[in-house]
């Protein structure tokens, strides 16, 4: 598909044109970190085109931390008392600009959970359908990143419709990578000019350089090949779990952690049913009404998180691990539990078992 070269002004102008027709979300600085926010035409030049990963992943744009699912009246006088009605939401077309390839790949990982042959999560599916994603290639990955080790990469296009590559000279290469991206460019002409061979060579060079900057964490195929119970019963978890304080930092910052809770809230006679992020790190996550808890111990909860990402997901869906190597958990775990180290321990334990 087509490849264009845009100056930064042309890029900003393109985004501004989009804001006049559709909702546009983009990374902007919020205090000392970056976050995806709805931007209007005046804010298009505030978009951060060179940010490291946003502190929170953009998963919240599809799976908000807290959202109202249904509303109802608990008043017996109301003819429709206790009948749940869907809370209307804005599913009009939108564009997310500047998403990193790893975060977009994460959406593909989550699709498998929310968009299944048997059930469709209506909010997830409608938001996905409403969204076109313009990605931003990662020309200087962080030292905590390991996307190339987990089926993604700094220029990975699999979750994207358009990829923008900062060429290092103030210009951007715009690579249209899906039909949806094509449609976006038809609806809102990006301007710029056809990419010449020099720009494409620069793009290829930047891609190679970025990929080379990422340290591989090893061959992950044993995660697929070895039996689930071997990993589950491994002694490594005792060591991995000690430092964990069972907070929700890793799960809440993770672009692929999708687990959620459902809670009802009532104010006077107006009630709503909410969906909220939840975390397998919290004991309450699995506590039965009877008081029994299948994952009462910290070790069990820590093991669950890593096993889910690195083994259960792998076995259940056959499309690799549920991790895109964004490094957020590595960087922000308050006690330095490093998933790369956990993977290494799992792989080492595997070799021993052979």
């Amino acid at each position: 598909m087509k490849r264009l070269v845009l100056t930064k002004d042309e890029l900003t102008a393109w985004v501004r044109r989009m804001t006049e027709g559709v909702r546009v979300f983009a990374p902007v600085a919020v205090g000392d970190y970056d976050e995806f926010r709805l931007v209007d035409s005046d804010q298009a030049d505030l978009i951060r085109w060179s940010y490291q990963n946003t502190r929170l992943s953009p998963k919240g744009l599809f799976h908000p931390q807290a959202e109202r699912m249904f509303k109802f009246s608990t008043s017996k006088e109301d003819p429709e008392w206790n009948i749940l009605k869907e809370v209307p939401k804005d599913f009009s077309p939108r564009v997310i600009v500047g998403m990193r390839p790893c975060d977009a790949a994460a959406l593909k990982i989550m699709d498998v959970n929310f968009d299944t042959p048997e059930y469709k999560d209506p909010w997830w599916v409608r938001r996905r359908e409403a969204t076109t994603i313009v990605g931003l290639a990662c020309t200087s990955p962080s030292s905590t990143c390991f996307c190339t080790s987990v089926n993604s990469g700094p220029f990975d296009t699999k979750g994207l419709d358009v990829l923008l590559v900062p060429l290092g000279d103030g210009r951007f290469l715009l690579d249209v990578v899906s039909e949806r991206g094509e449609e976006l460019c038809q609806q809102f002409g990006p301007g710029g000019k056809e990419a010449d061979s020099e720009a494409i060579a620069t793009y290829e060079g930047l891609k190679k350089k970025a990929e080379a900057a990422l340290v591989p964490i090893g061959d992950l195929s044993p995660l697929k090949e070895r039996d689930m119970l071997e990993f589950f019963n491994s002694p490594i978890w005792d060591e991995v779990q000690f430092a964990c304080i069972n907070c929700g930092v890793c799960t809440y910052l993770c672009p692929t952690c999708w687990c959620f809770d459902i809670q009802d809230e009532v104010y006077e006679s107006e009630g709503c049913r909410l969906r909220l992020w939840d975390s397998c790190m919290f004991p309450l996550f699995t506590l039965h009404g009877s008081g029994h808890n299948p994952r009462a111990e910290k070790l069990q909860r820590v093991r669950q998180r890593f096993m889910h990402k690195l083994k259960y997901y792998v076995d259940k869906y056959g499309q690799g691990v549920a991790c895109v190597g964004c490094g957020r958990c590595v960087q922000f775990c308050p006690v330095n539990i490093d998933i790369r180290e956990v993977i290494r321990l799992m792989l080492v334990q595997c070799e021993c078992a052979v």
Binding site: F72, L84, N113
Partner: protein, 280 residues
Amino acid sequence: MNNPYRPYPVVIDDIIVETDDKNLRTYHLKFLNPEDERAFQFLPGQFAEISVPGQGEIPIGIASSPTEKGFLKFTINKVGKVTTYLHNARPGEVIGVRGPLGKPYPWDKLEGSNVVIIGGGFAFTTLRSSLVYMLHPDNRSLFGDITVVYGARNPGLLLYKDELFEWEKRDDVTLHITVDATDDPNWKYNVGFVPAITKEKAPSSENAYAIVCGPPIMIKFTLPVLTDLGFPPDRIITSLEMRMKCGIGMCGRCNIGTEYVCKDGPVFTFEQLSRLPNEY
């Protein structure tokens, strides 16, 4: 788009106190909309989320049989916020039902086989559904011998007593009712733990499946008895309980290894469980 989180509105039609301790009550629920009832096609072994607006949802096995039309039946133990609310509810109240959810017992395999049902305490709900389903005149000929061992701590804690004593008299089902202990001098059924009674009555494993539901301790001691009787692990079936929210395999909490109890279960064979982490 069909929203799998939206419950069907139902009205509580009847509430029956099941046990002497009053901790178990059976609710008859009627759909407000006939099209919802038509959409709710289930088989014994499946469950539903009972939805009480303002309180929350709880996963409960369906105790009625698909052969019983016009209502759904759930037997609910008083444990938490939602169940306590329900125990204080009155007939006429509108609540919701979301389902049917999960996999039923493997009826395609059970048909043509002898079926041994072993239940303990209040885990007899989907077993009742199964029994009513199999004993229905349209279905009875599809199954071989049907044997039931059902026990509770004392006679006052048995569920569905009237039906039990009726089934006990029938000749197309062998029913062994038992209690751990009783001081009732007129008690004419068995006294003893479920595993011991199972051993004593020794149902044949030939061309048979066993469905075992009950407290973990009962299951633990019944399994070796069934093994001795010749039941292989892939012919011993159970139904698991887990904390659940979505009921459709999305919210992530009820997994045992790769399997979501809500969507991939709650019915599992012991052969399946032997390949999964022991975390339930």
